[in-house]
């Protein structure tokens, strides 16, 4: 039997399915009839879209509807659309064709500009991406930091860090127990020696609230601050700041306290990878990104993977993003954010 005859034969039997009548079909069509009967129970795609539109309304997001435009071909209809141009109208003033020309050119230019912007955005497969803040990180110039203290309940005195050194001989101390060492050596914190930090006559923790009482702070390790090891500040390490290890910088910063989140201002959309498109892979890639003081994304890592090349596509796109940097007390600082990139096929 050829395919045309098969198609006719099947359709005759499907008519009974459509009528809701149970008929005994030939065995060759049994499975197809069962599938057709199940497909009849599937939701209407129009309902699916309509309901999502309603849910967006619930969210206060108004998605533009997609009205069906009727094709207008007759001259009468054209005249009714553009009465001023055609002159078939009841206007007070006579038609001025130059006005139409100016309007047409300016609108065309506007449409081209908008279209080119949309084209430049690319990635029509991507429904939405958003920047979500999960953890704020204070990273002025690096990812190091350190701190220590001597179990003093009074926080370390406010001040500035000593210079950086690669090899620490004397940790930074605010209260020096042996003021006259035989071999005087300047206190240092460990980090790149060419890293310039604000200096003053008072060694101390820059963010401390204790401005008057000399104290090495509540930490331990022999330095100054609330952390541990021989650095200065609230972190564990031999550097300076709330981070760890060496250098100057911070680990996780507490939300609030005057730190604002960076805001994406240029967000070119990612493309779909071929392999993901083939199997219609959808979902969300989450990237951990540090937005530096200049609003550039740095240290991009995958926090949640989708695979099939979509992670790489997300990174590729986010590398091009530009942000307004986050600030602390009004000053731009590096802030770590999670960037969610959703991939959805229409």
């Amino acid at each position: 039997m050829n395919q045309r005859a098969d198609a006719e034969s099947l359709d005759r039997q499907l008519e009974s399915v459509m009528a809701g009548v149970n008929v005994k079909s030939s065995s060759e069509w049994n499975e197809l009839m069962a599938i057709a009967a199940n497909v009849r129970k599937l939701p209407d795609p129009n309902f699916r879209r309509r309901l999502w539109g309603e849910l967006l309304d619930d969210c206060g997001i108004h998605e533009p509807s997609h009205p069906q435009f009727e094709q207008v071909t007759s001259a009468t209809a054209f005249a009714s659309m553009l009465p001023t141009l055609i002159g078939d109208q009841s206007a007070v003033f006579p038609p001025d064709h130059r006005s139409f020309l100016v309007s047409f050119v300016s609108h065309t230019a506007l449409i081209v500009l908008i279209a080119s912007g949309i084209w430049a955005g690319g990635g029509k497969d991507v429904l939405k991406k958003a920047v979500e803040i999960s953890q704020l990180t204070y990273l002025p110039t690096g990812d190091g930091g350190g701190g220590s203290g001597e179990h003093n309940p009074i926080p370390a005195t406010k001040g500035t860090a000593p210079k950086m050194t690669e090899h620490q001989l004397v940790p930074p101390l605010i209260v020096v127990r042996k003021p006259d060492p035989v071999l005087p050596v300047q206190a240092r914190v460990v980090g790149p020696p060419d890293l310039k930090l604000p200096q003053s006559n008072q060694i101390g923790d820059l963010i401390s609230s204790n401005v008057s009482i000399p104290s090495n702070g509540s930490g331990d390790g022999g330095g100054a601050g609330n952390g541990s090891d021989t650095g200065l500040g609230t972190g564990p390490g031999m550097g300076y700041g709330p981070g760890s290890d060496r250098g100057f910088g911070g680990g996780p910063f507490r939300p609030g306290a005057g730190v604002t989140a960076p805001r994406a201002i240029y967000e070119p959309e990612p493309e779909y990878s071929e392999e993901a498109r083939k199997i219609k892979q959808q979902g969300m890639v989450v990237l951990s990104v540090v937005v530096d003081q200049q609003g550039r994304p740095r240290n991009i890592h995958i926090a949640r993977s989708l695979g099939l090349g979509l992670d790489e596509k997300a990174i590729e796109a986010v590398k091009k993003w530009k942000f307004t940097p986050g600030t602390k007390d009004g000053i731009p600082v590096a802030v770590q954010v999670n960037v969610e990139v959703s991939f959805r096929l229409y």
Partner: protein, 176 residues
């Protein structure tokens, strides 16, 4: 087949939706077919199924902020809402809500999964085949109407219908 035992991956999506309700889109897309099938099996008309499905998702979106992750997949929470919605609906017609649980025990979950898979497979058909299947079996249009809409002969539409159903049979065989 997927069952209620899986679904740990929902957690992140739920947290995203709780943070910004626009992210509810992913949860909606993942669960729409199952919720619809869950309800459609228990009502008599498509209109009823659509109304009640709509109510379930409206309620879910409204209360997503209150959702507390306890290890169960998100669909289980949606089924809970659906059961409440159905219970209220059934009470209007004097039916007893206990029938819902009995129905679930009698293999209702398998049929729901089958329908969810079938919905995905219909989406994976070529545009022509998908249009024919949707118009013919979901919108219940005649072959003649579809032929006119697509500017094809009725014979061509019947052949597309045959190929689409055969494709679904093959894909279903691979999936289930």
């Amino acid at each position: 087949m997927k069952t209620l035992a899986s679904g740990d991956g929902d957690r992140f999506l739920i947290e995203a939706a709780q943070h910004d309700r626009f992210h509810f889109a992913e949860l909606y897309e993942q669960n729409f077919d199952r919720v619809y099938a869950f309800i459609d099996r228990r009502v008599s008309t498509r209109e009823e199924a659509e109304d009640l499905t709509g109510e379930v998702f409206h309620r879910a979106l409204a209360s997503i902020a209150n959702f507390r992750w306890q290890g169960m997949p998100f669909i289980a929470w949606l089924y809970g809402i659906a059961m409440n919605v159905l219970s209220a609906h059934w009470q209007k017609f004097g039916k007893h809500p206990a029938q819902l649980a009995e129905d679930w025990d009698q293999g209702g979950s398998d049929e729901i999964e089958l329908r969810a898979i079938l919905a995905e497979l219909v989406e994976s058909l070529s545009p022509d085949q998908r249009t024919v299947i949707v118009r013919r079996f979901i919108e219940e249009r005649s072959i003649r109407e579809i032929a006119q809409e697509l500017s094809r002969s009725e014979g061509a539409i019947k052949q597309l219908q045959l190929r689409a159903l055969e494709n679904l049979r093959v894909k279903l065989g691979r999936t289930v």
